[in-house]
């Protein structure tokens, strides 16, 4: 019975991760500008790959494999915001503009040459 529970939970994690990746890909295509696309890519995309890594660790049923999968998951969770923030800061500082539907730019004129 426990094997069924673990198998069902692993299958749920795999399907949820794949759907998160699909939602991130749809968001990358549908959102209007770079700064909103970044929401889809760095949140939903990271959760998608992280859920699938945890599924691998659960499916193996081995403590060494599971701890490596958890380590990889935390590594992605830690590095995704750093890279997304660096990219957004660089793009805003250089002068890539926000979409006209955005209502507020709190960094306007504060970093680098104002566009």
């Amino acid at each position: 019975m426990i094997a069924y529970g673990i198998a069902l939970f692993t299958a749920l994690l795999i399907v949820a991760g794949a759907l998160f990746a699909l939602i991130a890909a749809i968001g990358i295509n549908r959102l209007p500008d770079l700064y909103t696309r970044m929401h889809a890519a760095s949140k939903a995309g990271t959760v998608g790959s992280g859920l699938m890594l945890i599924a691998v660790g659960l499916h193996a049923g081995d403590l060494a494999t599971f701890s490596r999968a958890i380590a990889g998951f935390f590594f992605f969770i830690l590095t995704a915001p750093v890279s997304a923030h660096l990219l957004a800061k660089a793009a805003h500082q250089v002068g890539y503009k926000l979409s006209p539907v955005s209502v507020l730019d709190e960094l306007k004129g504060k970093d680098g040459p104002a566009p």
Binding site: A3, Y4, I6, A7, T10, A11, L12, I14, V15, G17, A18, L19, A21, L22, A24, A25, I26, I28, N29, P32, D33, L34, R37, M38, A41, S42, G45, T46, G48, S49, M52, L53, A55, V56, G57, H59, A60, D62, T65, R68, A69, G72, F75, F76, T79, V82, S83, A84, L86, L87, K89, A90, A91, Q93, V94, G95, Y96, K97, S99, P100
Partner: protein, 143 residues
Amino acid sequence: MIAPETIIQAACNFALVVLGIAFFLTVYRVVKGPTLPDRVLSLDMLVGIAIGFIAVIAIRTGYTLYIDIAISLGLVGFLATVAFARFILARGLVGERPLEDGAVLRTEKHKVKGGKKAKAAAAAAGGKGKSGSPAGAGGGRRK
């Protein structure tokens, strides 16, 4: 009753199909993406989808060594994104001039020094294109 392995195999097949769709949607954004940061962001997303593929294949084949490959790929993707961000910071807006509606007017390098008049003309073209289709504004050329 269904065996546990059958459930896992069915979930893996479904996940492979969904990940393939997501992969091609992201590749479309890499090809189309109007500016360089869009392409860098989509490449970062492609690394995440590839890690998902590696995880599913690790479950299907049973080789847990694939997890180490996934961790290494995540490290390389993070470093590549950081390096591209530094490159965007150092490069500036060479060759790209984003308009208000997000479309990009491509400019030649020797035509960038058009002065304020050309800039105002580009802004007017951008405002006019907003009522029409965004693709029309993106296709306009600067004089």
